[in-house]
Amino acid sequence: MRAFSPDLIRTDFPFFTHHNDIAYLDNAATTQKPQVVINAINRAYTTSNAPVSRGLYTQALYADEQYAKARLILCEFLGCCDPNNCVFTSSATASINLVANGFLAPRLKPDDEIWLSPFEHHANYLPWQRLCSVTGAKLRQIPMNVNTCEILWDECHEVLGKNSKFIAITALSNVTGLAPDIESLCRKATIASIPILIDGAQWAAHHPVNFDNLGCDFFVCSAHKMYGPNGIGLLVGKTEQLEQIQPTQLGGGMIDWVTDNFDDNQWSALPQRLEAGSPNLAGAIGFATAAQYIQTIGHPFIQEHLTCLSLALTAQLTNIEGICLLAPPSATVHGVVSFYHEKVHTHDFAQVCADNHIAIRAGHHCAQPFFKQLNINGTARVSLGLYNTHNDINRLVKRVRLAVEEFA
């Protein structure tokens, strides 16, 4: 494990060579890519490019090897013992849609309940909302304290009640920065025999995941949010749950035998059955390389760094008159911090930052149902990455302070 220093880490990312004055604080939207990942993708196209599971020639067999190896690396990274239970998808969004339409849709009945946290991303809200509108099931949200956005676990016994048929919850909210106690929820859901999906899109980059120990039924993540390429994600699942997913994407590579009658078709085994179409080989290789890159830095250092930066950020922001944090500083230590001001629009914050080469996000962050519960339009969001420094934070705070002076 190499010594960790964000300034040193920054040199691993060519983006910062081309934009050496940027404070990139929008990592929850997408992360930058280290040179090793870019090189791996480049090598994939220059030396490994051949169809996966479709050829008998040397290069095709090598492509098969590389794809399997990438799957294995990611499987181990996420603490899953069986690589057949790691399904490549195009993204976390695609993974969630697959579970919604392929696993839950066939078994959902009117008045069944799907439970979500109060601050889910649209990707982990809309598929379930549609399912409910089609089946007559009910979409429920775990209540929260509207002042702190913290989940009121004591007021949500129904999430484990007899009508609850599925739970989908984020491991780390892209808007509040809060990390619900998913370990406890997974344990309780397992006891109650309620399938549970964890949206790890924001979590997996900076926090260790042990799928087998966590006890959830499904776990999803996206490569581009963890220093990997766009266009590829993962669905990790328990064997018995994945086996029950009816393929929603049909095409090449996922079927063993096509018959005259659709119902008699023989689908391939897992995970191929759920990976229709030509595999994204370069994406898989890049994804695996990103996971290995994270491992070279090590989660303990990453978490300590993000906690330290988060606390420094929230401490400074709370010193600016009128600035409100969406959630308590003690709870937002994972690198995502949202704030707002009664008199300054979030767009104005974001523009002032942008004019000074500071990249933050402003708006509803693809979490409109969450903001409807609060009396605010949106927030400005800072989301930290490996390469962020205290200097980045200080620059941001300075501009936030100036924006308040100018617009408030």
Binding site: H347, D348, Q351, G363
Partner: protein
């Protein structure tokens, strides 16, 4: 006008918007609404017309960023100059299109077809994402003219 002056002018419209109201529009106002779903900005334009479609009064309500509010305020000043102008609809539609074209053309100075009160919006030319903020009130105007 240099950039600093443009910015001050824009901020002035933001801080002290012309014809901004918080009250409800009475029934004799035609109302147009605009909403930017990406940021939640909302505008409501109330236009009072006589029986010959001449503008008697114009006001707006808004929840939005500085550009949104300033743009609405500037439009109100324009509408104020057009009071009693017979059938201003076509003029306003041409203004809207010229404004849109001007904002999208980063090179172009304020054309003579646009009133000088729109000059502060030149700052938005370098911010493509903020064009929606400018046009929100103009789109609401479309609904009532």
């Amino acid at each position: 006008m240099n950039e600093g002056a443009l910015k001050q002018s824009l901020l002035q419209h933001y801080r002290q918007p012309f014809q901004r109201t918080n009250g409800a529009f009475t029934d004799d106002y035609a109302i147009g609404k605009g909403r930017n779903t990406s940021c939640g900005d909302e505008v409501e334009l109330g236009l009072k017309l006589d029986d010959q479609s001449r503008i008697i009064d114009a006001k707006f309500k808004a929840r939005g960023c500085s550009v949104c509010i300033a743009s609405a305020s500037i439009l109100m000043t324009i509408l104020d100059t057009m009071k009693q102008t017979p059938a201003p609809q076509q003029d306003l539609q041409c203004l809207k299109q010229d404004l849109k074209n001007w904002l999208e053309d980063t090179r172009q100075d304020l054309p003579s077809t646009l009133p000088s009160s729109l000059a502060p919006l030149a700052l938005v030319k370098s911010m493509p994402a903020r064009r929606k903020c400018v046009m929100l009130i103009w789109n609401a105007l479309d609904q009532v003219i």
